[in-house]
Symmetry: C2
Subunit: 323 residues, 2 copies
């Protein structure tokens, strides 16, 4: 392959939220029923001093203990909740760590499918000369725009940053990808800009998700995308050792397992005590699976991201241990 | 080369602003002095019904008169002023024109260097199968966040969208790029979020530019970047037929011409009646130069983007006429 994942580190906000908090704030919610559907018992909630930059600084700092910063040739910052003051988050990170000036740095505005898109772009930036290494930094703080009484989103989303160090591989065999976009579903997951005209500025912007429609969309496009990426690699589902879905929720992942008809133990999940961390979700799952030795050297792994846009992407890579 | 520019179309807001308006609103401004420095006599200002999406729809519509929409394999939307409601602008465009579902669509948050970055990424997405064609859509409406009395920015920035249709070329000879980022200059061009805490929501966010510092940065990094990209292509400045700088202002471009020591007639400029249109600036210049037959078939052209971030990128391509 043309790249390999050399290291993954992640950072979570200090504060987390268990479902008992949701119950205390929403007396009429049936928490047991919600838990049964989401499978999520705990989520991380950024405080007012934490944002996509502070979280990213933490995950990048951990990576920089393992590699000299001057070896980094590019920074792709994947986020949907970076405060837009024109300056890209990637340039803020470049300056914070004093990365070399001739670095490629840019931001991608993509949600839960973001990591797979960033992998595709990163593959094209890596080379055997000045850019043998690069970073994909995922960081989002959706919960800043989700109120306690937002029943479709508050029990699901969680804040996090994950940084992935990629290395160039001499074996110049391009990894295959499958991608898709369906903007007709944009109203199924979006943020309402309450204060656009300045009238309701005391109310913050709020994220809305039509969970049922998003689930239906996922079940429609993800199995097709998996078939395509298997075909592109001339592989069968049996050749895949471990699947990493975007950790949307138990309901979504269980249904995908059923539709695709894959043994449950071939699908790694970590949503239970972490929630849905947007584009950080797949990298954190990779890190945790590797640490638990469930993800092993030379495994063929299938990564599938899907979400806001609507947008999806899948790829198959060979896992190289030593991290 | 691995790609060529097949078509460029652009769209401008209905309303424009001449400097007499600035004079009438700012009695103490010396407009003649400002004009001497900026070289800009007219700028396009989006009205309340126009935004990055409506402008992009216009420029994309013109492109779609020349190519079937089902031939488009990807959409890269370059913008810094897309209203962030989570849905990417590229997915909105995908849906608006009913582009096929298996399209790659994502947004890049980059400013005046954005077109060159998008070219690099586009090069990696084009192939001889499903993605023989793709779109780079640049669209920004900076002026929505620039008040009449904003002396550093109001006489400069202009709203626009440009759409560039790229085609795959069989001659698989990758175009070279040079890139750089310097986040330490982020405070020289940024947007102040006045209503972050909801206290001043009646005041809109305002863009601030330290024009002097941006000019100094440009003169420091751009000549170096040009040298690098010439070396990568084993070319000398004499081998370049026409240079397209980002149309920052007369002051910046005149100084670059002086420092690089290139004949003035080898540098195309169009800022006078258009202003600085952020990432649309280079594509619009290419289109106008081609239309005027100043830019001719097989010309070696040097493209140099630079601006907010701070961020810069340069490349040399061979121009193919027939558009």
């Amino acid at each position: 392959m043309s790249f390999y994942i050399k290291q993954i580190e992640f950072a979570l906000p200090i504060n987390f939220e268990k479902n008992i908090v949701l119950k205390s704030k929403n007396k009429n919610w049936n928490i047991k029923e919600i838990e049964k559907k989401t499978g999520i018992l705990k989520r991380y909630i950024s405080n007012k001093n934490e944002n996509v930059i502070t979280l990213a600084v933490k995950s990048v700092s951990k990576i920089l203990k393992k590699i000299e910063k001057n070896k980094i040739g590019f920074i792709i910052f994947v986020s949907q909740t970076h405060k837009n003051d024109l300056t890209s988050a990637s340039c803020i990170i470049q300056n914070h760590f004093s990365f070399k000036e001739n670095i490629i740095a840019f931001d991608l505005n993509i949600g839960c499918s973001g990591f797979v898109y960033a992998l595709k772009i990163a593959q094209s930036l890596l080379n055997n000369n000045s850019r043998k290494h690069g970073l994909i930094i995922c960081s989002d703080t959706y919960t800043k725009n989700i109120s306690y009484d937002n029943k479709s989103s508050r029990p699901i989303f969680s804040d996090a940053s994950a940084t992935v160090l990629l290395g160039y591989s001499k074996k110049f065999d391009f990894v295959q990808f499958d991608f898709g976009s369906d903007g007709s579903g944009s109203s199924d997951l979006y943020m309402l800009n309450k204060d656009t005209n300045g009238l309701n500025a005391s109310k913050r912007n709020e994220i809305f998700m039509n969970g049922g429609k998003i689930a239906l969309f996922t079940m429609r496009v993800v199995p097709k995308s998996i078939n395509k990426i298997l075909n592109k690699n001339k592989m069968k589902l049996n050749d895949i050792d471990l699947v990493f879905f975007h950790q949307a929720s138990k309901y979504v992942i269980d249904n995908l397992i059923r539709i695709i008809n894959i043994p449950k133990d071939k699908v790694f999940v970590n949503y239970k005590y972490l929630g849905n961390t947007i584009s950080s979700s797949i990298p954190i799952a990779l890190k945790q699976a590797s640490k638990k030795n469930i993800l092993k050297n030379n495994f063929n792994i299938l990564l599938v991201g899907f979400g806001v846009g609507l947008s999806w992407g899948s790829t198959i890579i060979k896992w190289k241990a030593s991290r």
